[in-house]
């Protein structure tokens, strides 16, 4: 990364801030700047903060002035901020990306663009391949709004990379992350004292450990490859096993009631809405193949799908209601007693 000048959009998000923190540790890096509408909550040393809205045309003048050679787009939101309507997501994600790409066109120093996108583009279907590879996007109907948005912005990005073949354009397709510090609706959902599930469905999930989420992003910034790259842990875990490992009882609800119920519970408990994509994922599950990430980008996730959940369960064990029932320790002692 010697002499690199990196600009990170969405610096106030946990992803942007964490990436900036890691990059700033590299002394060979020349310059890091972050763009967002509000300053990051944590103090980031060595990182210039540029206050700007991605959706504004002003960006086309700001970005060239940084003389950046690498742009990392972390400004794609998976869920609206608490209290904001879900409709605003489209504006932020699609229009924001469009403006950013327009600004990239006017930045002659640019060499690489990395976008932190979403695996939601594949959707969640009963009939889908168990592990999507990168070439399988858009084979199935685009069902949720978020999925359509991601598909649209990927189309813009594809066009952009085709027109600028000298640039390395990398689209990262992330599975949802879990981590005790994360404040996402899915994490809040999984830390409810009792977790509603959809009766009769036991989806296969891949939840990415927060460390690997940043690790993969950093690896992709250092060694970007062209085209889409799936970012997911190796393997998969079923929701029922996840809840058992996390020691949280599930409450099965008939699946047509799940969405509305979560909306109500979500509003009351401040969970935030589980959007259509998450609801479908908690019914049919989604697996993606991470071979390209491991072999081409060269990032080996530290946690596989099960270990990510174990780590999460270990760190969120305190966040629960009622006494802890140590069934495992009990069983071990029972088994050990007679020997």
């Amino acid at each position: 990364m010697s002499g690199r000048r990196v600009v990170i959009t969405g610096i106030a998000s946990q992803w942007g801030a964490e990436l900036a923190r890691r990059l700033a540790r590299d002394p060979a890096l020349e310059y890091v700047a972050g763009i967002d509408t509000h300053p990051p909550s944590a103090d980031l040393e060595r990182t210039d903060f540029i206050e700007a809205d991605l959706r504004s045309p002003l960006l086309s003048r700001l970005l060239p002035s940084t003389e950046a050679d690498t742009v990392v787009h972390c400004g794609i939101l998976w869920y609206p901020e608490l209290g904001k309507p879900a409709g605003a997501l489209h504006e932020i994600n699609v229009i924001g990306t469009l403006q950013l790409l327009a600004a990239c066109e006017r930045t002659p120093t640019l060499e690489r663009v990395v976008v932190r996108g979403s695996a939601a583009i594949y959707g969640c279907e009963a009939a889908s391949p168990a592990f999507f590879t990168e070439d399988l996007a858009r084979r199935l109907p685009l069902r949720t709004r978020f999925q359509r948005d991601i598909s649209e912005l990927e189309e813009y990005f594809d066009n952009f990379s085709r027109r600028h073949s000298r640039l390395t354009c990398c689209m990262l397709r992330y599975q949802p992350e879990i981590g005790p510090e994360l404040e996402t609706p899915l994490v809040r959902y999984l830390t409810l004292p009792v977790v509603p599930t959809q009766l009769g469905y036991d989806p296969r999930l891949q939840l990415l450990h927060a460390d690997d989420a940043t690790g993969a992003l950093e690896a992709a910034v250092r060694n970007p490859v062209r085209g889409p790259v799936n970012v997911a842990p190796t393997g998969a875990i079923s929701l029922s096993r996840l809840l058992r490992l996390a020691r949280r009882p599930g409450v099965p609800l008939p699946h047509p009631l799940f969405g509305p119920a979560m909306e109500r519970v979500g509003r009351r408990l401040g969970v935030g809405p589980l959007l259509g994509d998450a609801i479908r994922m908690l019914r049919y599950g989604r697996g993606i193949d991470n071979r390209r990430l491991r072999e081409e980008v060269g990032y080996e996730p530290r946690f596989d799908a099960v270990d990510a959940v174990r780590d999460f369960a270990g760190k969120t064990d305190g966040r629960r209601l009622g006494p802890r029932l140590h069934a495992g320790a009990l069983a071990e002692r029972l088994a050990g007693a007679g020997r």
Partner: protein, 322 residues
């Protein structure tokens, strides 16, 4: 479960042991111990089997069991074994032949005819045949019509016992992991054919299974299953019910839906399963998968093998039910 040589081990020791356990536990708790320690002390009075069962249950409740990336749960499959063994040995009196043709290690594609309109049990019975008669058995996986994965309960059950949504992507991936995979190339056309056309093989799709075998280098083991056609004889079908449920077809059998849930009990036909000699495709390069003529010829070869074996085994079986 391992059978120990513990002296206390009786015929599951009965209620006395449990009463002893509870009594000892109460004594412990009254003596000021926490429930955990009390249970530990009291457990000495439990017979080994009970203790092991409690251990296994507690372990599962904690999520400490293995499950592969497809959702296959070996312990769950083993727990289902007695039910399927009953169907295999008592209900359908299955006779299996040639299980040794299935390789005991490495990948293999098992190709079978498909029948049993309401619930095809052929995958389950082929699995049982392998588990009971193969010298080195391992759990095979099977491709299931993806519609089943949209259904509650059925989807999670199928996944746990080794079902995988039918798609060439999935078939390739699981074969590359050196598993044995069962496919039913007739698909819905096989299960949905009327009783009058029993044991007449339908078209083998577009030969997708041959493409997968060529690309992965897996040998094809043709399997002929006799008996599956008589379990739910399909006399007609209800288009209205099919449209209402989204099912590919809803069969009318002599008992279903007239007798409600009782109609779901399969008829006790007599079964025969024959595993044929494996067909090795190693003399074809993987690129042959793109040649429709090669694919079609191989697909036809497998189909004819199975058809011939079906007729042979029908004669060997004799009467369908007795």
């Amino acid at each position: 479960m391992t059978v120990g040589t513990d002296t206390r081990e009786g015929p599951l020791a009965g209620p006395e042991a449990l009463a002893d356990f509870l009594r000892n536990m109460r004594v412990g708790v009254e003596a000021g111990l926490d429930p955990l320690t009390a249970a530990q002390r009291a457990a000495g009075s439990l017979p080994t089997q009970l203790r092991e069962a409690a251990d296994a249950i507690a372990r599962r409740l904690q999520g400490e069991y293995s499950e592969d990336e497809w959702g296959f749960d070996e312990e769950f499959a083993e727990a289902m074994f007695p039910i399927f063994d009953f169907l295999y040995s008592v209900w359908w009196r299955v006779e299996a032949e040639g299980a040794r043709h299935v390789p005991s290690h490495g990948r293999a594609l098992l190709v079978s005819n498909h029948a049993g309109s309401l619930f095809p049990f052929d995958a389950g019975m082929i699995t049982m045949a392998l588990m009971k008669t193969h010298p080195l058995p391992r759990w095979p996986r099977f491709m299931v019509l993806d519609w089943a994965f949209a259904l509650p309960f059925i989807s999670s059950f199928m996944r746990r016992v080794g079902g995988i949504p039918a798609s060439p992507h999935n078939a390739r991936r699981v074969l590359e992991q050196d598993e044995t995979v069962m496919v039913f190339p007739e698909g819905v056309k096989g299960t949905g054919k009327p009783f009058s056309e029993r044991y007449r093989l339908q078209r083998f799709g577009r030969g997708g299974f041959v493409e997968v075998a060529l690309r992965t280098g897996a040998p094809i083991v043709p399997i002929a299953v006799v008996g599956s056609e008589e379990i739910y004889p399909k006399l007609g079908e209800s288009r209205t019910l099919a449209r209402a449920t989204g099912a590919p077809f809803v069969p009318l059998t002599p008992t279903f839906p007239w007798f409600g849930l009782f109609g779901l009990i399969p008829l006790p036909s007599r079964w025969r399963i024959e595993f044929c000699e494996p067909i090795h495709l190693s003399d074809h390069p993987p690129e042959a998968a793109d040649d429709p003529r090669v694919v079609f010829d191989l697909s036809e070869e497998v189909r004819e093998t199975i058809q011939a074996k079906l007729y042979e085994n029908l004669v060997k079986r004799g009467s369908a039910f007795f």
